[in-house]
Symmetry: C2
Subunit: 370 residues, 2 copies
């Protein structure tokens, strides 16, 4: 038996067409040609996608489980995404809602190298939820961003990350920004006694990102931010393999558009290719993700398959200090809360607001019903 | 005045909320924090996104034109996509429907290096439409794929490309497959006198793709296939800059899922980052793109802004020999028709079927009303 990964698609169909639609997807995501024109018995038996199950979800929706040969993916994360949803993404009524890899693919896709436990160990935070904020806005120069980073860190926050919009722009080039932000955070950490981390945002192709990590590591940085849907899955996979000592924080940019269920894309696939933590748009914030979706994203990140390390879920996107207790009751302690704009809005009171955020998380007692 | 690119978004709103929604998108795609918490006048004036226009399209749909500072993009194609749609993709009711770059960004984004005219020149086809097919299925070994490539080429086709599902799998690794396929096509081309090209499919991260191009070039190949949504925009941009002699054929894998209007993603953005030709799902095939969408994709590829070279539109996806006259009337001669499965279904008659395809294109007289 050839090992197969299982991809589950949800599509709109009716009882008379669902079998044909399911077979068409199985063909599209494998040999991509009429099976009757294939004469190699091995390819028909082992390479053509196999419809494992069709489940009628009611209301004209069906869930189709398709087995795809592991050999068509090999060990490349870009090819994994291509085989899971490359051409089928072009059908407007199909969503990828589930992915399960066989144990045979664990060596090629080992998942997070640092993971939830590694991040907790580095930050010296064994039990409580973690805290994070972001350096913004774009357009500030390196010195201004460093000053901001220092103020966050003096509030005792766990992680200060670049806004995902910070790349290598002329106003604050990576090489100018990262050493001064890292230094500002290190000084503040020495003052507070808490090992706050700074995570710069990577941009450009693989080689540029590799050079950025080397530069950041030189500056004492061990955590970085990367957007897998923009960087490309193969780029993330390569970097995670090359830098097992670096924690990779995945940003969901462009990910909401992908018609891949968020719990699959952000909760399963991002950690699978090496993300140690996964940022996602939390319910009740600026984006429209439901509580159920957010719960599934967090669960998927924390419960990987085949002995991979758990990743850290990071709800974000319009979170506020006032919501900390509710968010912690909802997400539990194996969570990093990322609050950006609401802290930045405190202006001169940013460090004090950050300290309130940190204290609210540290002092939180779980709701008895949580 | 700071140069701005214009991004146009279509969203669902009502007259009472559209102004606030538009401003929220302008903020989300730039500074991503409350503008009232920004005290730098330059950032407020030059970096915060500006709502240029809101157009009521009726039925609850609005088109919002937003000016984004060119400085927030710099010269990185990944960052371009991030600034155009990174976070706003996470809103389920917003589609990116237009992108216009200012003349100041032409140096950083020069577009195709070979382009439509270069491809015509290499193939010695000054006027008629071009022809292409694909090597499938996955699971064939290198020798079988090479035999298939030779049979297509003996039919006189212009281009034989790898199926986008061919990566670097064990059954036909890139290094084993490409030299033999290239050689088979070269021999057939010597026999027919027509300079048929073979385009292998790139996979993996940037460095792996670069090595693949070097290996392919060593084998006499000057055309390659790449899927920008999987490879990452920055990877495509980097390769197109490093290999100006190589023609890049963009594959739309994962692109249909992106809630970016296909004419923008495939017709405008893929060529902008260096694709010389853009494959797209043609109307009436296996995918649901409308004739109007397909016409807009082709028009966008052929009519770039600011003196960039035109790219070649390549309709594909379930095309048949029988439809060649209709497709040529619809798309006109500055087009490459890509027919895969329908030729492969001819089995032992593949070379003859390919020759019929080539003749149908060569003999086509435009419909007087086309």
């Amino acid at each position: 038996m050839t090992p197969r990964l299982i991809a589950t698609y949800r599509l709109r169909a009716d009882a008379t067409t669902i079998d044909a639609r399911a077979r068409a997807i199985a063909v599209e995501q494998s040999v991509e040609m009429p099976p009757e024109a294939i004469d190699a018995a091995r390819i028909l038996a082992e390479v053509v996608g196999a419809v494992e199950q069709c489940i009628d979800r009611g209301g004209g929706l069906f869930d189709v489980r398709i087995g795809l040969a592991a050999e068509t993916v090999g060990g490349d994360a870009g090819q994994l995404l291509n085989m899971l949803f490359g051409n089928t993404s072009l059908h407007p009524d199909v969503t990828l809602i589930g992915v399960a890899l066989p144990a045979e693919m664990t060596a090629a896709f080992p998942g997070p190298r640092v993971g939830l436990a590694g991040l907790r160990a580095r930050l010296g935070v064994p039990a409580r939820a973690l805290t994070a904020s972001a350096l913004k806005p774009q357009g500030l120069d390196a010195a201004a961003l460093a000053a901001l980073a220092g103020r966050f860190a003096r509030g005792g926050i766990d992680l200060v990350k670049d806004d995902h919009g910070l790349a290598d722009q002329a106003t604050a080039p990576f090489a100018a920004r990262v050493p001064v932000c890292a230094e500002a955070v290190r000084r503040a950490a020495a003052a507070t006694g808490h090992p706050t981390r700074y995570a710069p945002s990577l941009s450009g192709p693989h080689g540029a990102m590799r050079a950025q990590i080397l530069l950041a590591r030189e500056a004492g940085v061990d955590t970085v931010l990367i957007a897998p849907m923009i960087a490309g899955f193969a780029t993330v996979q390569a970097l995670a393999g090359e830098f097992p000592d670096i924690a990779f924080l995945a940003h969901p940019a462009l990910g909401g558009a992908a018609r891949i269920a968020p719990e699959v894309l952000i909760g399963t696939l991002f950690p699978l290719i090496g993300a140690d933590a996964a940022i996602f748009p939390a319910h009740g914030g600026r984006f429209g993700y439901s509580p159920a979706t957010c719960r599934r994203i967090a669960a998927a990140a924390r419960h990987p398959s085949h002995g991979r390390r758990p990743a850290l879920p990071v709800p974000a996107g319009g979170m506020t200090l006032a919501r900390v207790p509710e968010l912690l009751d909802f997400y539990g302690p194996d969570t990093m809360l990322l609050i950006g704009g609401n802290l930045l809005a405190a202006g001169a009171g940013l460090t004090a607001a950050t300290a309130r955020f940190v204290r609210a998380v540290a002092d939180h007692s779980p709701h008895p019903n949580a």
